[in-house]
Each structure stands twice: as structure tokens, then as C-alpha cells.
């Protein structure tokens, strides 16, 4: 059976195992993105408007962290969460929470680095006016984050895409346990290694379809909001 037919069959049959895997993938990646934004957006904005010793070094480091290999992040988080590791008592290894943590670590630098650039580019325009009004650095950073929401939204989507696509980190910290930590990417990896390539490809098409649908929805929402609120 060709990959395309498999993909179609998988989608229309709404196989409960597949639904479970898709749902878990979305929950893990969306939660990771939410955490990455909660940390990364304010961080990026503060670096953009701040002036402090070592600022340039920090920018270079954050930019470089965008290139963190997922498998390295997975390894580090694994060592931290293992029972033999410092956070072992929390019992998070081989659970979805561990996957969320690993993905959040992976995407936060991306969100921080890109938002820093976006905010810094706009800061030239806003700086004098916001300072004139008496805004604090922190207040200016938050105000800019909201004002630049449409540009930043694309960054959020990029972060989500990166999270949903990665397999190395979640495989290591999640263990690809059937029914517990198996997500789309690790399921595809498993079927590939079992030699069931049409099924693996079919799952891959399903994953692409979902990510595409999410992006299309997000785009429509953004365009509508932008037209309405300017």
C-alpha cells in the first residue's frame, strides 16, 4: 500500500492509537512552546532594551544556543532527571513531563534570540517616546512584546514547528513507551526501524498535515486580528 493511501486510511479511520499519539504530540509540543514563550519572550525583550555589562556576549550565547542539537539536550535532561541524577527524586524520567522539559529547553533559545532581534529592531522607533513617558526598561520590554505581537507570533509558530518536528530529545527522555510517551516523531522512527516504511511515511504525512492545518489556522487568526485591531 502506498504511503499516500496509508496516510489517508489512517486519517479517515481515526484509529484510536493514532489519535492518542497525535493528541500527546500536540499536548507536549504546545506546552513546551508555552513555557518557552513565557521565559523566552520577556528574556529576549529585556536583552533588547537593556544596557548592561556582558550584553553582547549574552546575545552571542543565546544565538548560538539556537543550534543546540536535540540529542545533546535529550542527553543532558536525561542525566538530570535520572534517578541517579540531581532531580531524580521527582520521578519525571520516561514521562511526558520530561519530554516537555526537554523541548522547552530546546526552543527557549530560539524564542529568546528571535524576539530579541525583533524587539531591538523596533526599539529604535519607540525608544525616545517610551522613555519620555517615563517607562521603565521592564515596562518598555512588556509594552513592546504586546505591540510587536504579530511579528512575535510567527516566532512562536517557528518554535512550535521545531518542537513538533524533533525526535532525538523526546526519544531519550521519554523512552518511546507505548501508550505513555510515544509521540508522532518517535512512532515514525519506530516504524522506520521495523522496516514498515509505507506506514512510517503515512504517519509522516499525517504529522505534516496536522502541522500544516495548525499553521493555516494560526495565519487566518493573525490576519483577522491584524485587520481588525491594526
Amino acid at each position: 500500500m502506498s504511503a499516500g493511501t496509508q496516510a489517508l486510511q489512517l486519517i479517515t479511520s481515526a484509529d484510536p492509537k493514532l489519535v492518542e499519539i497525535v493528541w500527546l504530540s500536540l499536548k507536549v509540543s504546545l506546552t513546551a512552546v508555552a513555557i518557552a514563550c513565557a521565559v523566552g519572550l520577556p528574556l529576549g525583550a529585556m536583552i533588547a532594551v537593556g544596557r548592561f555589562a556582558g550584553r553582547h556576549t549574552l546575545i552571542v550565547v543565546v544565538n548560538a544556543l539556537m543550534g543546540l542539537p536535540p540529542v545533546v539536550v535529550g542527553l543532558i535532561v536525561y542525566l538530570l532527571l535520572s534517578r541517579a541524577g540531581p532531580l531524580g527524586a521527582m520521578g519525571l524520567l520516561f514521562t511526558p513531563s520530561a519530554m516537555v522539559i526537554a523541548q522547552a529547553v530546546l526552543i527557549t533559545p530560539i524564542v529568546a534570540a528571535l524576539s530579541r532581534q525583533v524587539v531591538e529592531d523596533a526599539w529604535d522607533e519607540y525608544r525616545e517616546q517610551l522613555r519620555s513617558l517615563g517607562e521603565t526598561k521592564l515596562g518598555a520590554a512588556m509594552t513592546l512584546l504586546w505591540d510587536l505581537r504579530y511579528s512575535l507570533f510567527t516566532i512562536v509558530l517557528a518554535g512550535f514547528g521545531r518542537a513538533a518536528a524533533e525526535v532525538g530529545a523526546v526519544m531519550i527522555v521519554g523512552g518511546n513507551i507505548d501508550g505513555v510517551t510515544r509521540v508522532m516523531t518517535t512512532a515514525i522512527a519506530l516504524e522506520t526501524s521495523k522496516g514498515d516504511l509505507p506506514l512510517a511515511l503515512g504517519l509522516g504525512l499525517v504529522l505534516l498535515a496536522i502541522v500544516l492545518a495548525l499553521n493555516a489556522t494560526a495565519y487566518v487568526v493573525k490576519e483577522t486580528a491584524q485587520k481588525r485591531y491594526g
Binding site: 499536548k27 507536549v28 504546545l30 506546552t31 508555552a34 513555557i35 513565557a38 535520572s82 534517578r83 541517579a84 541524577g85 531524580g88 527524586a89 520521578g91 524520567l93 520516561f94 514521562t95 511526558p96 513531563s97 516537555v100 523512552g175 518511546n176 513507551i177 507505548d178 501508550g179 505513555v180 519506530l190 522506520t192 526501524s193 521495523k194 522496516g195 514498515d196 516504511l197
Partner: protein, 275 residues
């Protein structure tokens, strides 16, 4: 900022639903890719869960990795197929007791073109010698798995120092059984595989079983409870309950009941004290 507050609440809610499964009774078993990919666990575990209500979470890795997971205390039970490595695990004090559970066998897979002329043979060591002599392409797992360790034992048994003899013909891939089979299929190479994974493997290309049945190809599986004295987080009652079921008549019958295309993959032998 009402919106931020709502977002934070939603996030916390999402995180709690993610960790909710922790409420159920479960154990973590570190096992090998061959047991998972052959489909044995997919067949066996639902039976166990229905009987006891305990969920078994399997983390499938190579034997070496699985034992390391046990050494770190990240699993309650290890279920692998490399007796020397298991004995070492016990000697280090990480396990309580080793129980033999079942065996399956390895098969030597190769291309139909068979450049080393070994097809149909029953002597695995002779076959390995012929492959090395012909310098025919051979894929090794190279990942400290049970299969890899068995392969190394066979080279030794055939009188070959593989570290010195290996050349471009010997492809050390460092992969699991499935990916290694994929590689062998695309290269038309010889490869040692466990019968279970081979039967479940779909991407065969030109490959088929060329040598089987030699007693030296028998592959014994053992199960060990991770030592709760060294690793206090181990769920010792639930873990031991699983082990007891595996070696019990019910568990052994279930293992024998797993078939692919009518063919039995694993042969229960918990009663064999020498296994």
C-alpha cells in the same frame, strides 16, 4: 493582565493532565528492541494488565543500554538477552536474582546472491569463516546489544579476531536491529538477526534466512529485578509480581502463544535451571 493569568492557569492545567497517568499502578521495564519490535510485548502485556491491573511501561533499548538504565535505577525490572552481561549486572549488586524466561534463536540473514556460498548450511561457525574469507559485506549492530554480543561470540568461536580482520566489508553501524536490517537490505549484506525481529521485518529486499538451527544460535532471555537496596525508588512488589508471572505456567503459556504467520517466535524455558 487578565489574559496572562488565564494563560498561566491553562498551562498549569495542561501540565497536570500530562502527569495524571502517574496515579495508576505501573512498573518500568527496560528491555531490548528485539522483544519490542518482534511484537511480543504488544501481545503479552495486555494479557498481564488485564489480569493484574498493573500497567507495564517498556523502554526498548539495546541490551547494554537497558542494563545501564537499570544501573541508574531508572527502571524496576530489566529483561534482556545477554547472560554474561546479566551476570555482571548481578555481580555489581544492581540486581536481585536472574530468572531465565524464554529463548529464541538467531538466524544468519543474507542476500539471495550469497557471495560467500553459505546458504542452507547448519554450521554457523563455518558460515562466519566463509564470510570473512570472502570479505563479503556484513552489517554489525555494533551497539552492545544482546545480538551484537552474540555476533562477537560467534566470530571468536570461529577463530576470527574481528577487531583485526575487519575491513571495508564489515559495516559497524551502531544501530538497532530494525535499522541494521534496513541497512543490510539496501547493501545486500549478511547480518545476524533474532528470528522475532526478522519475521516482523517488512523491508526485506533481496534478503532471506541462509543459516539457521545451529545450537550456538540459541538466544536466552533473562529477567532481573533491579536491586531496591541500591535503588530505593524501585517498585519491588510490583516488579517481582511481573517476574513471577513471566515464569509462571500462565505467563509461559502466553509467551508460547505468540505467533507470526502461525510461527512461534519465543520458546518458554523458565523451568530450565541451566538456562
Amino acid at each position: 493582565m487578565v489574559t496572562t493569568r488565564r494563560a498561566v492557569l491553562a498551562l498549569l492545567l495542561a501540565l497536570t493532565t500530562l502527569s495524571l497517568p502517574a496515579q495508576e499502578r505501573f512498573i518500568t521495564v527496560a528491555s531490548t528492541t528485539s522483544t519490542e519490535q518482534s511484537g511480543l510485548f504488544g501481545y503479552l502485556l495486555p494479557i498481564y494488565e488485564r489480569e493484574t491491573g498493573v500497567k507495564v511501561r517498556v523502554v526498548a533499548l539495546g541490551t547494554g543500554q537497558a542494563l545501564d538504565v537499570g544501573r541508574r535505577g531508572d527502571a524496576d525490572v530489566v529483561f534482556v538477552h545477554a547472560r554474561p552481561a546479566e551476570e555482571k549486572f548481578l555481580a555489581e549488586g544492581h540486581g536481585v536474582k536472574r530468572y531465565p524466561v524464554m529463548y529464541n534463536d538467531f538466524v544468519l540473514i543474507g542476500p539471495k546472491s550469497d557471495p560467500a556460498r553459505i546458504a542452507g548450511g547448519r554450521d554457523i561457525l563455518a558460515a562466519m569463516k566463509k564470510i570473512e574469507a570472502a570479505q563479503a559485506p556484513f552489517v554489525s549492530r555494533g551497539d552492545r546489544s544482546g545480538t551484537h554480543m552474540a555476533e562477537l561470540e560467534l566470530w571468536k568461536g570461529a577463530g576470527i579476531d574481528i577487531e583485526r580482520s575487519k575491513g571495508p566489508w564489515y559495516r559497524d553501524t551502531g544501530q538497532g536491529m530494525g535499522p541494521a536490517l534496513n541497512t543490510a537490505a539496501s547493501m545486500n549484506a549478511y547480518i545476524l538477526a533474532d528470528r522475532g525481529t526478522w519475521l516482523a521485518f517488512k523491508n526485506r529486499g533481496e534478503l532471506d534466512i541462509l543459516v539457521e538451527g545451529d545450537k550456538r544460535l540459541f538466544n536466552q532471555y533473562g529477567v532481573i529485578l533491579v536491586n531496591p537496596e541500591k535503588h530505593p525508588s524501585v517498585k519491588k512488589e510490583l516488579g517481582q509480581q511481573f517476574i513471577d508471572w513471566l515464569v509462571s505456567p500462565a505467563g509461559q503459556k502466553a509467551i508460547a502463544g505468540y505467533k507470526i504467520n502461525g510461527e512461534q517466535l519465543f520458546y518458554p524455558n523458565a523451568s530450565d535451571a541451566s538456562a
